[in-house]
């Protein structure tokens, strides 16, 4: 679990961007593979 109380600002930016990119990639994969659903 991520302890935001003990997290630097730079690390929190990386976490937020990681979350955004993971969700974008998930949406992209869903779009590309929707023919199989």
């Amino acid at each position: 679990m991520i302890d935001l109380e003990r997290s630097t600002a730079a690390r929190r930016i990386r976490l937020a961007l990681g979350l955004i990119l993971a969700l974008l990639c998930l949406a992209l994969a869903g779009f590309a593979l929707r023919g199989f659903f």
Binding site: R6, T8, A9, R12, I13, L17, L24, F31
Partner: protein, 440 residues
């Protein structure tokens, strides 16, 4: 949680074209073709949203800070570049005119020159814009030229990208998605126009004059501005503003500087500016009376909203003292009863900014001031070297100041080290304020 709300808004904006393509109900092609189209849709949406991630829109920056907005602008532009670069290479269907019976263009990828050339232009342009931004520090472009080329390149990429989507896109041929692209482009250009046209028009009526330029330390100047007419800048101690000195209000010759004055001291503004090898080398030659324009305030490096902190520790490296001096001056001017500590690192003694005033603050306001010098003169009694974990341990942990508010300003490597060391010492992250504009 405002930052989380911004993430949700960002995702909603960039995923809208993909969602609209999905709900069109067109029969999917091969996964590779769909991936290629999806990459293009995402990349273009991300490029358009980049225009509002510029650190100048207070609705966004007041929630997470200009530095965080600019950093996400940089990093998400790189992600958009990767998506855009990959976009054309995943198509596996033949590059051929679609047969007449294939009304949904399922069997072929549009390849006509009018549809392709804007895509090639946007593809190459985006690579050039991001590469130029990455190389900015090493290439040493003049800042205002870089800003102009970056903005022009971004407009070209966005315009060509939307044209390419409208002419070549299987999904963007749908009128709804087509209008979404047009609206997105209009909003992106409006965001840029706000910065380049509307904001300069507004500030053209709010003129300032240089009152004085005096030495503050070795190669560091104290620049004071006075408003012409009855206006004044409403700011909080520790914020920064974009300064345009001696140029027309629409000039790109403006740079961000921390405000070193205190709002309670009156309408005049003071900036501490160090010679950094660019136009700042000529700061000392600016004549009193020179016209100036101020755009701001920006930034979240302020102690307001932290009234529950029992004390305030300010940690500065070099010219990073500027916003912290503003905070110290404001605390003294408003007779804030909380104890204050300033840890101030420099290479040599002659670089200490406003040394006399700092002594006065120590005497009159009770601020504890600790100068740390990496190249101290003979007989120096204070700490030597850099502000490091050891200095923090002695003056924070062992002094029982873990619950204080810590405000940091200085070179990015120093800030990263200090943030990590303070957290290691047991200071909660929400008690650490810092702003850094370069993270690489």
């Amino acid at each position: 949680m405002p930052a989380a709300a911004l993430i949700v808004i960002y995702l909603a904006l960039v995923l809208t074209p993909l969602a609209l393509a999905w709900v069109q109900g067109l029969a999917p092609r091969t996964p590779w073709d769909e991936l290629a189209s999806g990459l293009g849709l995402l990349a273009l949406a991300m490029i358009l949203v980049e225009f509002v991630q510029l650190g100048r829109f207070r609705a966004v920056t007041s929630r997470v800070g200009s530095d965080v907005v600019m950093r996400t602008h940089q990093l998400l532009a790189r992600a958009a570049l990767i998506f855009a670069l990959a976009h054309p290479f995943f198509y596996v269907s033949p590059l051929a005119p679609a047969p007449e019976w294939d009304t949904t263009r399922r069997m072929a990828v549009e390849y006509s020159w009018p549809a392709i050339w804007p895509g090639i232009l946007a593809w190459l342009g985006l690579g050039a814009v991001v590469a130029m931004a990455l190389a900015r520090d090493v290439a040493g472009y003049r800042y205002e030229i870089w800003r102009f080329l970056h903005g022009l390149g971004a407009v070209l990429v966005a315009g060509a990208g939307v044209l390419h989507a409208l002419r070549a896109g299987r999904y963007s041929a749908d009128p709804t998605l087509g209008w979404v692209w047009v609206a997105g482009l209009v909003l992106a250009l409006a965001a840029l126009a706000q910065i380049c046209l509307v904001a300069p028009l507004l500030r053209a009526r709010r003129r300032w004059r240089v009152v004085s330029v005096t030495p503050a330390a070795l190669k560091t100047w104290r620049l004071r501005l006075r408003p012409e007419g009855g206006h004044r800048l409403s700011y909080r101690a520790g914020q920064f503003a974009w300064l345009n000195i001696g140029h027309a209000p629409f000039s790109l010759n403006e740079n961000p500087f921390s405000i070193a004055s205190a709002p309670s001291e009156g309408p005049e503004l003071e900036f501490i500016i160090k010679e950094l090898g660019d136009f700042t080398d000529h700061i000392g030659q600016i004549a009193p009376g020179t016209r100036a324009y101020v755009e701001g305030p920006h930034g979240h490096l302020t102690v307001e909203g932290h009234a529950d902190a029992p004390g305030i520790a300010l940690i500065a490296g070099g010219v990073g003292i500027a916003p912290l001096l503003g905070i110290l001056r404001e605390l003294a001017a408003t007779n804030d009863p909380r104890p204050t500590l300033l840890i101030y690192g420099n290479r040599e003694e002659s670089q200490i900014v406003c040394a006399d005033e700092l002594q006065s603050l120590a005497r009159d306001h009770g601020t504890e001031i600790l100068h740390v010098l990496s190249e101290p003169p003979e007989g120096w009694q204070g700490p030597r070297g850099l502000i490091d974990a050891d200095v923090l341990r002695r003056h924070v942990a062992e002094a029982g100041r873990r619950d204080w508010l810590f405000v940091l300003c200085g070179p990015p490597p120093m800030l990263r080290m200090l943030e990590a060391a303070l957290i290691e010492t047991g200071v909660p992250a929400h008690r650490i304020l810092s702003e850094q504009f370069v993270y690489d």
